[in-house]
Amino acid sequence: MIRTYRALLVAQLQAVSQYRVQSVLWMLLEIIRPVIFLAAWVAVANSQGGQIGAYDVRDFAGYYISLTLVLQLVFSWNAYDFEYEVRLGRLSPKLVRPLHPIHYAVVENFVWKVTTFIPLVICLAVVILTFDARFRTTPAHLLLFVPSVLLGAAISFLSGWVLATTAFWTTRVHAVSTLWDRGLFIFAGMIAPLALLPGPLQAIALVLPFGYMLGVPAEILRGGIDVPTALLLMVGQAIWVVFFYIAFHRVWRAGVRQYSAVGA
């Protein structure tokens, strides 16, 4: 298995190095939305004398910078390619290989994250300076952040595959994934830190998986919540990982049976 992964890794690194500019541009795309909402919250905080709940302007900056970093580490886009592959029948050659297609996706994601990490950090440094961000991170937070972001990535990756696998039946994931994206938009901590979502929205956010992908690791990285709360939220993350892992296995097995490429 290790040898397989090493081979895949080298191949993917070579593939990516052909499109260096493209990688950086796509990374900029990811960074722009958190900056938009950061600017909006800073404007709101300033109109209220600089403080909203437990957040002042510099805390908002710390939060959204953490969120951008988490977004980069957690996000996986393979679900979007998958519909394409199913619809065009390109999945067939991958299915007859001795390796589950999910392994290719793991490597693609990993390489993407590694290669875009340095330009991302440079961009974030600019944002940190622009907004004079504040972090309340302690070593304990950093220690918790590592497993938390891994759990977040696992939720994002597995749920993305569950969504993608519905393409076996519908061949049109787009509508489903739009709904999912909007759920992320509202409940993951993008439009507001989870603690600032108004009443019912916050309760819903704690029940849905979205916040556990992005908002929770971001707050831990910023040091915005204390250690017991962080541990509790990480249990929530673990539950969602298990849920999506089981769901993925079920759906995948049923789906492959359903799948027939054009001309098969």
């Binding site: 493209q22 109109s47 622009t130 049109r172 787009h174 739009t178 909007r182 509202i186 439009i191 507001a192």
Partner: protein
């Protein structure tokens, strides 16, 4: 002129017929647009649950702005995005010859040829959001009522000009879809008034990617926050941008060589 209007009608009728072939898909896309708009309005409401004004914009003015954002974005996704995507494809494949040989302005044929009818939903929703915002503002005067469509038209034209200039680069570099992707990313920033952003982003949104101007100024006009002088500057700037972009297109066209030329 009348000939061009008739051509446009013809183009759009065939495109609509094509879209109606896939009815389920059409309905799904309309639903998606509604969900996207509703959640964005929701995001603004979340922000306004903590304040009554955002940089001097109250909720009514902010909704007008958001509506303008959907009008501008709807217009660009309705006509410009599909047409410019096809254009770049034509350059890459060398099939632009077919447009150049036709007895009509090539710029017209290339930039307004394609049409995604489903995006009319976005225009309608934008109109609704503007109307809701207006109902929360004091009554609209003559200047605002006349100035708003003019400013909006300027906004559309600005977006047209920047996209035309960007895609003209395809004549030299062939693959420019990444540059276009940058444009679409910055487009997202148009949903808030351009004055909330930090310096470097504000400058980008008012010059290189004038989406900030295209959305913010029409909203300012109808919310009664802009004097006639400001509107005049906008009109002049828009005309200049349009003329420059068209000139650039003609220069670019000269270096187009076709498939087997």
């Amino acid at each position: 002129m009348i000939r061009y209007v008739r051509l446009l009608r013809l183009f759009y009728r065939t495109e609509l017929q094509y879209e109606f072939e896939y009815r389920l898909n059409l309905i799904l896309e309309i639903l998606q647009t509604i969900v996207v708009t509703a959640t964005t309005v929701g995001a603004v409401l979340v922000l306004f649950s903590y304040t009554t004004v955002l940089n001097g914009w109250d909720l009514g003015a902010m909704l007008v702005l958001l509506g303008c954002f959907y009008l501008v974005q709807g217009f660009s996704e309705l006509v410009l995005q599909p047409s410019f995507e096809k254009f770049m494809e034509h350059v890459r494949l060398g099939t632009l010859d077919f447009a150049l040989l036709k007895p009509a302005s090539a710029q017209f044929l290339v930039t307004l040829r394609h049409f995604r009818g489903v995006q009319i939903t976005q225009l309608i929703l934008g109109g609704i959001v503007v109307a809701v915002g207006l109902s929360r503002l004091p009554a609209v005067g003559i200047f605002e009522a006349v100035g708003f469509p003019i400013a909006l038209l300027c906004g559309f034209t600005l977006v047209y000009a920047i996209l035309l200039a960007l895609s003209t680069l395809a004549f030299w570099f062939v693959r420019v879809d990444n540059l276009m992707a940058i444009y679409w990313a910055f487009m997202d920033a148009g949903r808030f008034p351009v004055d909330v952003y930090p310096g470097w982003l504000r400058v980008t949104l008012s010059s290189v990617v004038p989406i900030g101007i295209a959305v913010t100024v029409p909203a300012q006009v109808i919310a009664g926050r802009l004097d006639p002088l400001g509107l005049g500057v906008l009109i002049l700037g828009t005309v200049a941008a349009f003329v420059l972009a068209s000139r650039f297109w003609h220069i670019g066209l000269r270096s187009y060589t076709g498939a087997s030329a």
